[in-house]
């Protein structure tokens, strides 16, 4: 970042920080028009150093400029860094921005799952995470964090799942949503088709007693782990189209959290590949 990239914002109605107005309400309506918002130091650093998205601007509390100087060296030339007093920032965002660190990125053109896998380089060994009807942002974010931790190559989500670039999902993902490739669109069935067309064996995670127990399974070179919504889980017709796999657990306990189940399955695949 060059010194002239810091632009002082004195008034909350300054149109240059329009992208940061009323963050919470926009979260609820997905009203960012092709943009997404990143919050906090750790995710900002990920956005700047590893992110695969175009950075549109930064918006920082004036007290954060000095402590962030190391990270700010990674701001691309020409990207404005808006700086404001805490009070102005709070009014713009619509709530107390204790972290004092925001950035805005552009989602760019999205590629649907089938096309996404067609373009991917055909690695010999590959792991995908498929998410169907995951409407909870924390769970989607945690799934990305776990996919990153255990070396998944990409995440595919159906249209009914929530956006991984939702502010809270990015934070819970530890920033993984910013660099781990993903593609979203269509139905859960469409994800199965796309993965199978790309030679992946699809494992449908389910608590059903007649599913194959995960620890006993040999991991194929290309595997796609399919997770369904918490509560109902995957619908029967989707399970029937894939290989049903269960995580052994105590009788009478319904299930673990969906991102936790994904972590256990991903960890099994990762360990099996040594």
């Amino acid at each position: 970042m060059k010194p002239d990239q810091a632009i002082r914002i004195e008034r909350p109605d300054d149109p240059r920080v329009e992208a940061y107005v009323s963050l919470r309400e926009r979260d609820l309506t997905n009203g960012h028009g092709g943009r997404f918002i990143v919050e906090g130091k750790v995710t900002l650093e990920t956005l700047l150093r590893r992110g695969r998205f175009e950075v549109e601007s930064l918006f920082l509390c004036e007290t954060r400029l000095a402590p962030l100087s190391g990270i700010l060296g990674h701001v691309p030339e020409g990207v404005p860094v808006y700086v404001a007093p805490q009070g102005v920032m709070d009014v713009v965002a619509g709530f107390a921005m204790h972290r004092g660190v925001l950035a805005c990125g552009r989602k760019g053109k999205s590629v649907p799952p089938t096309e996404f896998l067609r373009r991917a380089p055909p690695g010999e060994r590959s792991t995908l995470l498929l998410l169907s009807e995951l409407s909870n942002h924390d769970n989607v974010g945690a799934c990305f964090r776990n996919a990153a931790a255990f070396g998944a190559d990409a995440v595919l989500l159906d249209a009914a799942s929530c956006d991984p670039l939702y502010r809270k999902a990015i934070r819970v993902s530890s920033g993984a949503a910013l660099w781990l490739p993903f593609s979203q669109g269509g139905t859960g069935g469409g994800l199965i088709e796309a993965a199978e067309a790309a030679d992946y064996e699809v494992w449908a995670l389910t608590p059903r007693a007649n599913a194959a127990p995960l620890p006993s399974l040999k991991v194929p070179a290309r595997v796609a782990l399919l997770m369904g919504a918490e509560g109902p889980g995957l619908p029967a017709e989707m399970i029937a189209r894939a290989r049903p796999v269960r995580i052994p657990m105590t009788d009478g306990f319904d299930s673990v959290n969906v991102a936790t189940a994904a972590a256990i399955a991903l960890s099994h695949v990762f360990a099996a590949r040594g």
Copy 2:
């Protein structure tokens, strides 16, 4: 529940519902004086059917009485069931009680970890989960959910960890905090001593590269899995006092969530025991 157990509350200042006043502020100050609050239908059912605590009262929105009739059959005789219109309930609790289902239990006398393990029946095979300095309620709740799913016999927490009977921890635990035995007190080092005195091998989970990889480990008959705070993890001196164990993951990714790490370790132990 007998018909005369339902007691109509007309005014928010009725002293009989004092235990339910300003729930959120009390959560923050731990100001329930030996009581805890349960919220929602699923956890109420767990409290009544499986819980190990004394139930002091229930507090329901009047519209919930009929839909809950099946569960209310499990309310012990003599326990008052306060019933109020939504508006009165909201004022008492201090926020909109959409679920309309609250109950109050008594924590009872707590037994410190060493004494707790001394009293426990000496099962041949046993799994404990030890939590040190877990100050996030969601993480403590999720640890209980995972301990229950994978058949741990008990959870031990140091005094610095947060209370498993905090309202949100109970909810995130899927009610497991209400029936899975636990004991809290002392330091993390004290938990290690207590577990070793009861013939448990203590595995300290850590991302350190020189720790033993989890999948390669034979599970001893009595194992205690020790988890530290997210972020800093376990301090070096505690790791040195136990067997350091790591979950293999991608280089350069710091770690997964602490409850997720616990789930992976618990799942390994559960599967190894067949």
